[in-house]
């Protein structure tokens, strides 16, 4: 399928056709990342749609999504490649020691990063490096080569370079600061919580079965509670979940009992739940 990349606005429309609503600033960042073939570093609070961006992009472009979920202790063997040691040992014992010939391409186990730059691909995939802030600093320095040159150097084998550059999206929840060297190899975008208008568009695109009036009330309430002092502010993911639940309840309008019963979809901390429950009536009156 074809996807119009002629301008940021065309890209914005293309993404919204796939149910992903972006503002013009994010559209520009994605547009430039695609046109300039640069990785895009997306930072923001959990649940503002960072991972979703990569998924929708792969979907819209009709290419594969290769995903690497980061975690502490993530190393090369899990992220890029590993030698098939059992096979190497078997071969050594079958035909005696010959170290050099052991490190061949067919002995290589390809992990996500290597898969993404595989030369045999006809179409570059979207590579999602998710939650880089969970990985440790050692892993970041390894990524530098990949993000700058789209290549991975394997000491025993040589350098493997992408023929078609993958579209790289790196996300961070900002639980720690990622090194500047890594960010400077990327385009950078900070995703904020959406404006009321954007959020309404998102809810209506994702939960079309919800009546217009209820959708507006759901969004107004979420926007209102985001201004409260909370341990975890609900993201877009939470407001969409909540909107789905409200749609299932089939109400004429948003009312306190239904809201009270479904608050668990918006708030994931006990203290937050208590706080909102205690002042639910005025909050609701203000929003609806």
């Amino acid at each position: 399928m074809s996807f119009d990349l002629s301008s940021p606005e065309a890209l914005r429309r293309g993404l919204s056709g796939h149910g992903y609503i972006v503002d013009d600033a994010l559209a520009m960042s994605v547009y430039l990342a695609l046109r300039m073939q640069r990785p895009l570093f997306v930072e923001g609070a959990p649940g503002v749609g960072k991972t979703m961006l990569a998924r929708v992009l792969a979907d819209a472009l009709g290419v594969e999504l290769v995903r690497l979920q980061c975690h502490e202790g993530l190393d090369l063997a899990q992220a890029a490649y590993e030698w098939n040691y059992p096979r190497q040992l078997l071969e050594l014992q079958a035909r005696g020691g010959d170290a050099a010939s052991l490190y061949r391409e067919d002995m290589l186990l390809r992990r996500p990063l290597l898969q993404a730059i595989d030369a045999s691909r006809t179409q570059a995939p979207v590579l999602l490096i998710d939650e880089i802030d969970r990985a440790d600093e050692e892993f970041e320095s390894f990524l530098l080569e990949l993000l700058a040159e789209f290549q991975i150097t394997i000491p025993e084998l040589g350098t493997i370079r992408a023929i078609k550059r993958p579209i790289v999206i790196v996300t961070s929840n900002r639980t720690r600061d990622v090194h500047d060297a890594l960010k400077r190899r990327c385009l950078y975008h900070w995703i904020d919580y959406p404006t009321a208008a954007t959020e309404l568009a998102i809810v209506r695109a994702r939960v079309p079965q919800l009546a217009d009036r209820l959708a507006a009330q759901v969004v107004a309430f979420v926007q209102r509670v985001r201004r409260e002092d909370l341990a975890k502010v609900p993201g877009i993911a939470e407001s969409v979940d909540w909107a789905e639940a409200i749609a299932l309840l089939d109400l004429p309008a948003l009312a306190a009992p239904a809201v009270k019963a479904t608050l668990g979809l918006l708030f994931k901390y006990h203290d937050d739940l208590d706080r909102i429950r205690a002042s639910l009536e005025p909050l609701l009156a203000e929003a609806v």
Partner: protein
């Protein structure tokens, strides 16, 4: 006159002057982006410049101002927002004026003032071992500061999830096994092992700088200064409000950083709001800095103007998040002091180690203590009077 939209180098210089570290590679990216966008559309130029030139959220506010100045026009460059954002996502940096920010960044190269003078210090230090900091003269405090700079300090470790080759370990190191076998005609003689690597625990310091506490905090921070150079350390100071001074400590000398912070966040009539400041810490910073088994050090006399229950609630939640919560109190060990009243008494059940900080000897004890925190979590003491 050159067109501002195409004078990429000039704009880069303006950003650098304002303290945003823009590299040549980033300017090149911006220049590459220009032919791809509608250059007459100011909003498009703004979005393209922002995504290619900024790498930190904190820089966005300053970037917006520099952009508006450089490209002219009255309307604000950033997107027109109708809804205000969640308060904690704005308050932090909107309050910072451009001038203050620039001064902060520009002062990065201020020289360090401490000059070691070891010769005379030794005998004088003997005397100073147990002299209360508050009773010391300025010269004596200088001597103490110099002595502190030479102390060896380390914080206890934890096992990370990263693996390294080890003599004894639970897992096989097959990569090693293949390499060794290849040298021995395919024979495996020993099975190399891997184990989880030990890493230092991050240290988070929350220090009271109101009134008399400023003196003790200064000395403890001096004491931690050498440590923070090779160890992940985050420092926050509080009075009536809380502020993070980690970046300032990395750049310039401690006295200047503390004086600035004090001018900003200590309201001499307002008293110390420990509970409120810890609450702000929990909301705005804890998720980012209290991670991976951090040791948290609170330095305060516990004289809180807020409600004791509020302080207890904050300390309890802080203790739940960290590996070890250490509270340093200069009043402890003083004549007749008992932590039985108000905030301190309420907080004590949730404190793992309650230690004095009065004199050089107590700091040495602290150094010993930080290194000796058990590597594995055992029963946490809670309110033990050491």
């Amino acid at each position: 006159m050159t067109d501002p939209a195409t004078d990429v180098v000039g704009f880069g210089r303006a950003l650098r002057d304002a303290g945003i570290g823009v590299g040549l590679d980033q300017l090149a990216s911006f220049a590459t982006a220009l032919p791809l966008i509608a250059i007459a559309d100011r909003r498009e130029v703004y979005c393209a410049a922002r995504t290619t030139l900024v790498t930190r959220r904190e820089d966005l506010v300053v970037f917006d101002e520099v952009f508006a100045r450089w490209f002219g026009g009255d309307e604000p460059a950033s997107s027109p927002r109708k809804m205000p954002h969640a308060p904690r996502h704005d308050r932090g940096f909107v309050a910072t004026s451009l001038g203050a920010y620039m001064a902060e960044r520009a002062a990065a190269s201020d020289p360090e003032a401490l000059i070691p003078e070891a010769a005379k210090a030794a005998s004088a230090l003997e005397r100073l071992q147990s002299k209360d900091f508050a009773a010391c003269s300025d010269a004596e405090r200088d001597a103490i500061a110099r002595a502190l700079a030479t102390l060896e300090l380390s914080v206890t470790r934890r096992r990370s999830l990263r693996r390294v080759t080890a003599r004894r370990g639970r897992e096989l190191d097959l990569a090693q096994a293949v390499r060794q076998a290849a040298r021995r005609d395919g024979t495996v003689l020993v099975l190399p092992r891997r184990a989880r690597k030990w890493k230092r625990r991050p240290l988070v310091v929350l220090a009271d700088i109101s009134g008399s506490m400023e003196l003790y905090t200064r000395l403890v921070l001096q004491f931690l200064h050498a440590l923070s150079r090779q160890h992940p350390t985050e420092v926050f100071v509080f009075g009536t409000r809380l502020t993070r001074i980690t970046p300032q400590l990395a750049l310039r000398d401690l006295d200047a950083a503390l004086a600035r912070a004090a001018a900003e966040i200590v309201d001499y009539a307002g008293g110390t709001r420990i509970g409120a400041c810890l609450h702000a810490f929990g909301r705005r910073h804890a998720g980012r800095v209290v991670r991976r088994g951090a040791v948290v050090l609170v330095i305060s006399d516990g004289l809180d103007t807020g409600a004791p229950e509020a302080l207890a609630r904050e300390i309890r939640s802080l203790q739940g998040r960290c590996y070890r919560l250490v509270w340093l109190n200069p009043l402890l060990g003083g004549a007749g002091y008992q932590p039985i009243a108000g905030g301190m008494a309420a907080a004590l059940p949730y404190v793992d180690d309650f230690l004095p900080v009065r004199d050089l000897r107590s700091l040495e004890a602290l150094a010993h203590h930080l290194a000796a925190i058990p590597r594995r979590r055992g029963a946490r003491s809670g309110g033990k009077l050491s």
